[in-house]
Symmetry: C2
Subunit: 152 residues, 2 copies
């Protein structure tokens, strides 16, 4: 979709940061993991990809990497805090680097994803916390609704 900017500044998480983190935690920095992280770091903007999409892109370089390896690696990377996954309505979850802090709106009709600032729900978050003793955690699930084109 988009192409990698070559080299001005190191992005928030470079592949090497993650590799170092894996090793620091006693894990092993395998070619598969390295390739997965490379895919997530992606181009100029970090990617939001399903496990299947990550697998496809990884397989372009390492054809034998299995989908299950991607799921297991994502789990490991998530435990280390490098990756988060987000549920966008019905379809599969999408994975992305933990660096970017924003919320997501997903159109129930066309599937379009809109990002919005993390702070958007702070106010009602507080209100709900007091009134209902419940702390909403709006990053793990997208808010669903209708985008402009699809909304009546």
């Amino acid at each position: 979709v988009e192409r990698a900017r070559s080299s001005a500044q190191p992005p928030a998480h470079r592949v090497d940061d993650v590799v170092a983190g894996i090793r620091a935690a006693g894990g092993r920095a395998t070619p598969a993991r390295r390739a997965i992280v490379e895919v997530l770091v992606g181009g100029p903007h970090h990617q939001h990809l399903t496990a299947e999409e990550v697998t496809e892109r990884v397989q372009a370089v390492l054809p034998d990497v299995a989908l299950s390896t991607v799921y297991r690696s994502m789990e490991a990377l998530e435990e280390l805090g490098f990756v988060e996954h987000l549920h966008i309505g019905h379809g599969p979850a999408v994975y992305h680097l933990a660096a970017e802090q924003h919320l997501h709106l997903v159109c129930e009709s066309c599937g379009a994803v809109t990002e919005l600032p993390q702070s958007t729900l702070d106010a009602i978050g507080e209100e709900i916390r007091h009134r209902h003793r419940f702390r909403i955690e709006p990053r793990h699930f997208a808010l669903s609704g209708l985008c402009e084109e699809c909304g009546e």
Copy 2:
């Protein structure tokens, strides 16, 4: 957990209303459908049940009703506007009569479901609509987060 105002008037949807609606739309009021609606109407409060739970309860009376029949009936009832389904995080969707209009909070840790008034998100709903040209539709997916016991 809030309680429905008790009984002055007949509840919004009785089994017979639904049966009449099915027939009015050219559908057939089968024993399976009747039993399904009876389960959803439930006791004093209307129920929020998974397809599997509905099936179990229906099978207590009609042992041969298949899970797929429940799914298909729910779909039909939903098209007629009698039923809605709600996604509460990871597990299966839950079905309920369309009468009750409220939002849901689901604890990511223990799965507890809290209901909250429909109006709670009206204000940010408007704000998001203007700022991001997106109309949130917060009834189809629960808001996830942490309940008091589970929240750190």
